[in-house]
Amino acid sequence: MAMYEKTAEHFQEKFKELPEGHLLVNLGPSHPATHGILQNVIQIDGERVVEAESVIGYVHRCFEKLGERYDYNQFLVCTDRMNYVSTPLNNIGWILTVEKMMQIQVPERVTYVRMIISELSRIMDHIICNGIMGVDLGAFSGLLHLFHHRENIYQILEKLTGARLTTTFCRVGGMERDIYPEFVKEIKLVTEGLKPALKEFHELLIRNKIFNERTAGIGGISAEEAIAYGFSGPNLRAAGVAWDVRKDDPYMLYDKVNFDVPVGEDGSALHRTLVRMEEMQQSIRIIEQLIDGIPEGPYHADVPHTFLPPKDRVYHNMEELIYHFKIIMHGVKVPPGEYYHATEAANGELGFFVVSEGDKSPWRVHVRRPCFWYYQAFPKMVKGGLLADTIATMSSLNVIAGELDC
């Protein structure tokens, strides 16, 4: 750990005089229960956590600097690498920001498909969070039961976008290609299959006595503290605050569909899990309202300067060829200005702040990623608990290293 000399010094200073019987434990950087590469230095007295400290920065890629180099369509590829368990949500957040800046109105069909994919991704993310949490606490079968359904969603994404993990789903002004013919039928199959599976998962894991006793009242945070620390998403709602960007600051068609915002009580690991379980049900509800009404029409807004024209037109039409080269060489033109756009990602409020000077690339991109804000409260949340409880707390927070370090 020569790279982190000052941090090491800080620890030596902070944990200088370890009292008799106290012990320093390094949880991570690479540990099966830390979801990605992050480190927690924990001072324990027997089983009790006395002090804790989080260290991040192991997978930092300086996305914001890359954003200043790449053009608006190229940066879309970077957003895939942020929260890698629910990539389409990041894509959609970024593309909506750029479209708002350029004042592009996308066709209804695009919005419908984007919303359906968003909600599927939210389900995907919550399956991983709740399932892996069970694995971290020693219960594997819950994840196995649900993973099959996550795989089904992946197959839909693969057919739709050509990739499973790094989907690069949207384009400025629409989608890269239209949905495939069996899209509606397959999504209906997935949601129908999910309903009994979620019920089964609930009975298998959440109502399990061991799971209950290891999570109830563990790693709790009060509503005031959660707000003060900048919590958002399921972690904030588990503390009893009904804030949801989809309701408070609606984007796409979230003000047109009916869904409830599930709210927990004490912000403990159990309530975070329960909020995520209920959110999956609500996502299914949203998908069911949309899936039958996908309107016919183009899958792209009529803005020729922002998307690559189809190849058959490029090969036979001079005008389209010029557009093609213009977009590749000069990028998408975004008028000068600043914009902050927030979307509700699976983990909470994902905000993109973009400063444009009218060039090919943004002057400054900033990503407000939900993980970053609530992970700083982690040492406070685990203090006074048992060492084994830190695992439950961390798993239920759903910290994704790619999003945290950015």
Partner: protein, 174 residues
């Protein structure tokens, strides 16, 4: 709502307000002197009608070669009142100036301020622990500054010159 906030700030904190410059933005914003950030944040948080209790975002912009002063620290506050209204506070500062830390008002500002220090090189005074957060401790420079070379230290050119430099190299080769 925004007019009410503006008139409240003009009545109470007129000594800190700087006239806004013309920006195309979707956020309601005010510009403050750096001395004013702590009292204004405190007042906006504690005011019963506004109650900006949620620090939504904290970031900074480097305007090298575009504007003076060089840096701007941007605070985005959100209030659950009045339909989750957002307000942006802009604090322009020159290189080497310190900004008061707002950790005492919003505990959540701890890591974002360290991140701004780490990547942009803006120091926050009276912060509990002003050290690098993301980059290694022995890292030289602040990578989000516009004059930080894209290909790492030792390269004396900027990002915007990168294309022309390589083109010139190719021409010289021929």
């Amino acid at each position: 709502m925004n007019e009410a906030i503006l008139s409240f700030l003009q009545a109470e904190f007129s000594q800190f307000l700087i006239p806004n410059r013309e920006i195309q933005t979707n956020l309601f914003f005010i510009t403050l002197k750096k001395e004013g950030i702590l009292p204004v944040c405190k007042a906006l948080k504690e005011h019963p009608n506004f109650s900006f209790s949620f620090l939504n975002d904290l970031t900074s912009v480097d305007w090298l070669g575009k504007r003076s002063p060089r840096f701007e620290v941007l605070y985005l506050l959100k209030s659950p009142k009045s339909g989750h209204n957002r307000i942006q506070i802009r604090v322009p500062i020159e290189e080497g100036e310190e900004v008061p830390s707002i950790v005492s008002v919003y505990p959540g500002a701890n890591w974002p301020e360290r991140e701004v220090f780490d990547l942009m090189g803006i120091t926050f005074s009276s912060h509990p622990r002003m050290e690098r957060l993301i980059m290694p401790d022995n890292f030289v420079g602040h990578p989000l500054r516009k004059d930080y070379p894209l290909e790492g230290p030792g390269q004396d050119y900027l990002i915007q010159d990168l294309l022309s430099i390589h083109v010139n190299e190719d021409i010289e080769k021929d």
